[in-house]
């Protein structure tokens, strides 16, 4: 009987607690949690930022979830997160939709990223131009022989369509940055659910080619040098070359907040941009902003 009553009291207490904590989240400036959603490329980076930040500011909580850049933007628009992380700029249509819902997205560049093009270490090829890459990924070139490699069918590895990396690669490599271009990924391209899945497949498949943020490079992969065209020099991605915009396929990593950031969100963004925050960027093999 007494255990029964105890259990009842306990469960009522739990319910009240949940209710109370739900209420206490309401006010924006006194918030102790920040929800971050978006780019899978940035998940590990943000997790590291969040851990450091929470260590320095006990009692605060920064929750990071991935799901892709598109996911982050959708969440920002529907106000289910405080910061959307994206590895591409928001589209006009997305900004318009956000304004329609009363959200004014504010953009902050927090780090830089170079896209690495990788193949299996046994692949004799060491460099490709952007046009060759485009031909490979659109399916115009299907054999390694056609770009000076071994005689084997090329296995294309790409991220899923919800990935900012996928969208960036399509716009800047397949379509050469032209807004009116209609080039698409070959339907034969394998769309893998994560960058790690591309690392796994490319490191065990001698005929595969893949791309991802340079933070994912491991020694089981060979990095291909990339040039804008045949006449320009070929570069492998490196921090210096990305900071001075020499490496042809690099991009900013961005945080969008709902309007001007306030309270804890503001403190977090300031930390990210501080020398300390940028040290974390370097540690995780991304490129700090200048």
């Amino acid at each position: 009987m007494s255990t029964h009553r105890l259990r009842t009291i306990a469960s009522v207490a739990v319910v009240l607690l949940v209710f109370w904590s739900g209420c206490s989240r309401k006010s924006d400036s006194a918030k102790t949690t920040v929800q971050i959603k978006g780019s899978d490329t940035m998940v590990n980076l943000s997790q590291a930022w969040a851990e450091e930040f929470m260590k320095k500011n006990p009692g605060t909580s920064i929750a990071v979830t991935g799901g892709g850049s598109g996911n982050g933007i959708t969440s920002l628009i529907s106000s289910t997160c405080d910061i959307a992380e994206v590895s591409r700029e928001m589209k006009e249509s997305e900004i318009a939709l956000a304004r329609q819902r009363g959200v004014e997205p504010k953009k902050v560049v927090v780090a830089l990223d170079g896209l690495a093009v990788v193949v299996h270490p046994s692949n004799p090829l060491s460099q490709l131009t952007i046009s060759q890459l485009a031909d490979i990924y659109t399916g115009k070139v299907t054999n390694w022989k056609q770009v000076g490699g071994h005689d084997a069918k090329i296995v294309l590895l790409s991220r899923e369509v919800n990935s900012g990396t996928h969208v960036y690669f399509k716009e800047h490599v397949l379509r050469h940055g032209k807004a009116d271009a209609k080039d698409e990924f070959s339907p034969q391209a394998l769309l893998l659910p994560s960058s790690q899945a591309i690392v796994d497949e490319a490191s065990q498949n001698p005929d595969a080619i893949g791309y991802f943020g340079m933070g994912y490079i491991t020694q089981h992969l060979k990095v291909i040098k990339v040039a804008i065209d045949e006449t320009s020099p070929f570069y492998a991605p490196s921090i210096a070359l990305i900071q001075n915009n020499t490496y042809p396929i690099s991009r900013p990593l961005i945080m969008y907040t709902k309007g001007e950031a306030v309270g804890l969100t503001k403190a977090f963004v300031e930390y990210v941009l501080s020398p300390e925050g940028q040290q974390v960027v370097r540690r995780l093999d991304f490129v700090p902003i200048l």
Partner: protein, 291 residues
């Protein structure tokens, strides 16, 4: 007396409501799917949606041709059925009819354990072990193929098929077996010609439920089939299934947009397919029981 009647009436109503809840929910889900999904028809024709060969949902303008996805799902499902049905039925026959009590208990526990493995774990194992194996056995350029998906899913359908088929076989009246033995039939003759024959409706239901599980499975299939939206020419090519497409792309869509509607339309296609499978099973069940 009237109080008792009232009570009876109330209880009856409550039970009736509980009874129709699932039907109401199914109807509501279907209406919701229709409402959200049919909006895509403003963007592409129904023929183009079902038989179009290009799936480029985030391009401008987007192309919503779901044919490669439908073929992908059908191919993976047929492959999985071809593997899991014979093994599943044989294993149910063995467990119900032949195995000694001890073995039977161990086998049943093992099969239930197989059902308890989360699909993401099976998918992960399939990705790192089965994929490379298939690549080297068939000399392919990649191991992420429809066949890899079929084998992975066959393992997930097996527990459903085995346990339901085994129940159906056990439910065959003992007199049938005794009569068969009296006629001088061997154990195998009894098992195959009498017991399996009598348990056919239940075994068909088992197979259909297994196939239903396969066609609706998402996570494992997304990890092992490569997700390339092409029309496959053989089972050794990468495919993209309906379910994987919904799961992979739902996060990207804006509510009410074309892409969102297209994914719901895929949901309708899936719903129609599973409805058809169940319908066929139902028809067949009635035909055999009437006889």
């Amino acid at each position: 007396m009237t109080v008792r009647k009232l009570r009876e009436w109330c209880i009856e109503r409550v039970i009736f409501m509980s009874g129709i809840t699932s039907i109401v929910i199914v109807v509501l889900i279907f209406l919701f799917l229709l409402k959200e999904g049919l909006a895509v028809l403003g963007h592409v024709g129904i023929f183009q949606f079902l038989f179009g060969g290009n799936w480029y949902p985030i391009s401008d303008p987007p192309q919503f041709g779901a044919f490669p996805l439908i073929i992908g799902s059908v191919l993976v499902t047929l492959g999985a059925a071809a593997i899991s049905v014979p093994i599943g039925v044989a294993s149910a026959l063995y467990i119900a009819e032949i195995a000694p009590k001890r073995t039977k208990e161990i086998l049943k526990a093992g099969i239930e354990l197989l059902a308890a493995i989360p699909s993401v774990v099976i998918g992960f194992i399939g990705m790192v072990t089965l994929g490379p194996a298939i690549k080297s056995v068939f000399g392919l350029s990649t191991g992420l193929t429809a066949l890899t998906g079929s084998i992975t899913l066959a393992f997930m359908a097996m527990p459903t098929i085995v346990s339901i088929a085994e129940d159906a076989i056990t439910a065959v009246p003992r007199q049938y077996r005794e009569a068969a033995a009296a006629m001088g039939a061997t154990t195998w003759q009894t098992t195959w010609r009498i017991v399996a024959y009598a348990a056919r409706p239940g075994m068909l239901a088992a197979v259909m439920l297994g196939i239903g599980r396969v066609i609706g499975e998402t996570m494992a299939v997304m990890m092992v089939t490569g997700n390339a939206a092409q029309i496959p020419h053989s089972i050794l090519q990468p495919v993209r299934t309906l379910t994987a497409t919904i799961a992979a792309e739902m996060g990207e869509t804006v509510q009410g947009g074309d892409h969102y509607a297209a994914l719901f339309a895929i949901g309708i296609v899936l719903f129609v397919i599973t409805f058809a499978i169940n319908g066929v099973a139902e028809l067949y069940l009635h035909r055999t029981t009437k006889r």
